[in-house]
Symmetry: C2
Subunit: 331 residues, 2 copies
Amino acid sequence: MERLHIFSGKKVMITGGMGFIGSNLAHQLIGLKARVLIIDSLSPLYGGNFFNIKGIEDKCKIFINNVSNQILINNLVKGQDFIFNLVGQRSHIDSMNNPLLDLETNCHSHLVLLEACKRYNPGVKIVFAGTRTQYGSPVYLPVDEKHPMNPLDISGINKMAAEAYHLLYYRNYGIKTTSLRLTNVYGPRHQMKHSRQGFLNWFIRLAMDDEKIRIFGDGRQLRDFIHVEDVVRAFLMVAVNKKTDGQVFNLGTDNPVSIIYAAKLIVELAGSGKIKRVPFPEKNKKIEVGDYYSDFTKAKEIVGWRPDVSFRDGLKMTVDYYRKNKRHYWK
Amino acid sequence: MERLHIFSGKKVMITGGMGFIGSNLAHQLIGLKARVLIIDSLSPLYGGNFFNIKGIEDKCKIFINNVSNQILINNLVKGQDFIFNLVGQRSHIDSMNNPLLDLETNCHSHLVLLEACKRYNPGVKIVFAGTRTQYGSPVYLPVDEKHPMNPLDISGINKMAAEAYHLLYYRNYGIKTTSLRLTNVYGPRHQMKHSRQGFLNWFIRLAMDDEKIRIFGDGRQLRDFIHVEDVVRAFLMVAVNKKTDGQVFNLGTDNPVSIIYAAKLIVELAGSGKIKRVPFPEKNKKIEVGDYYSDFTKAKEIVGWRPDVSFRDGLKMTVDYYRKNKRHYWK
């Protein structure tokens, strides 16, 4: 972690910087004395929330706009040392209901950003947020970076294309890009209004509201849930490590847990909520991938990253955060 | 081929129907008594040319418009039995110079078409034109359909995404889609104004103009050139074969030939032109894939397709066509 002092005084742009991971990154970077520029559309469909940058809002430059705005982005990228490229749409259902909007957010925006960097800032380092949904159903476990990509939804296809753009701009133009393929990230500053962007935070809300958490089937599918603090650290470590240029890395955990275990632990920590098992709905069967967990050996070996936050501690921090700030996330 | 009488009286839409492959398909389909609807942007960047449908123009419905025009496409797809989806941008250089335009043509258009079919014609059969550039540099030869996809340019990435959309709409909505991954297609009705969409037709023009054909390096890289007649037959055979739903197929030839051999044969058949060897330019090295030829066993076994036109005959037909129609293609 000592290398992270590098960020002191550096110009850092975060796309989607008021969203879940972006805002957590912004908090860390301000702590490291970076000069942070945030761009976020604050689209009600996505996870951006002004409250996410509470306490640092006067220390950042903030632009409320779309990353697909070419003229703006051409100007913003100039002089940046690092870009954390977290703009994106990650709801399966939203991507299927509105594939054209998904294309704009998950492909068009990234081409605009990369073209801007090619012209106006080819020396910048960019870290892109990829996703495990690029892989689709695992054909072996744990899933490493060589696993074939067969995404099962529009969002996964577009993310796959967006990651490929980043790697192409490294190979052809020398722009230093890295992709982190994220699994189930949870923690503070995730939107809590609906379940369309990952179920773990939604389970937390249901439990805190003393509602029923519905588990499809037996709930024994394994997942590797990562706390956002660990993910933020991975983004920072990758950004300052030259060996990551043009590379992709899985993030993951050593201890995948079952969905039913996660739900029970949430109910325990929240002190409320109930679990209800229901049969697997037909429409969910098509996108259910069964067990999923990543092999993150490459990140361990090249970046020296591994997750630090235990699942219990991570959940507890999350429940505590929302207990304190509920009114900013619930409605 | 006897099954192709099925097209008689059928409603068939061809996107990019005034382009190279699209117009050759249109001629065949009119011969088979299909009711053909063509949509083509006639964008000067692409291969559309009114002369390509000379002789059948009064037997087709023709719309000069973009496939990304949602309202138009929603209306056009209604009632179609087959859609040959040939809209696309396949120039490497154009895709790198204008990635956002490439995204519109190679991704946005296809999502518009697929969404239109999902809503207004879910029973239609769609055959999509994929490309070998989805694979990138071969890691083994011949390249079969399981070969990993590592496209080396924007067009290849976007084609990979577009093909994935087609397969997704089959899996999730039952729309009968098939992708044919094409290699180097040559023949009549290809545009002849520039070299950006494949070099073989360009070599033919240079030879016919008694110019120098420049060969980079030793020219011994192997390629499988397919005559457009064979490709058209593959599209038709795939369209009427239920076993192709949700599948991808390589097309290819049994006899890959070297680039230098192709150039020499063209000079011989044209009766003019010269060959000049030059060192490999730096910028071309990045995208040169070395030998490339496909394994098309799957198409042989499931569709019963194999190429019929010998390279010599195919080239001769092509030279003859342009000799007769030069003024419609040269300027």
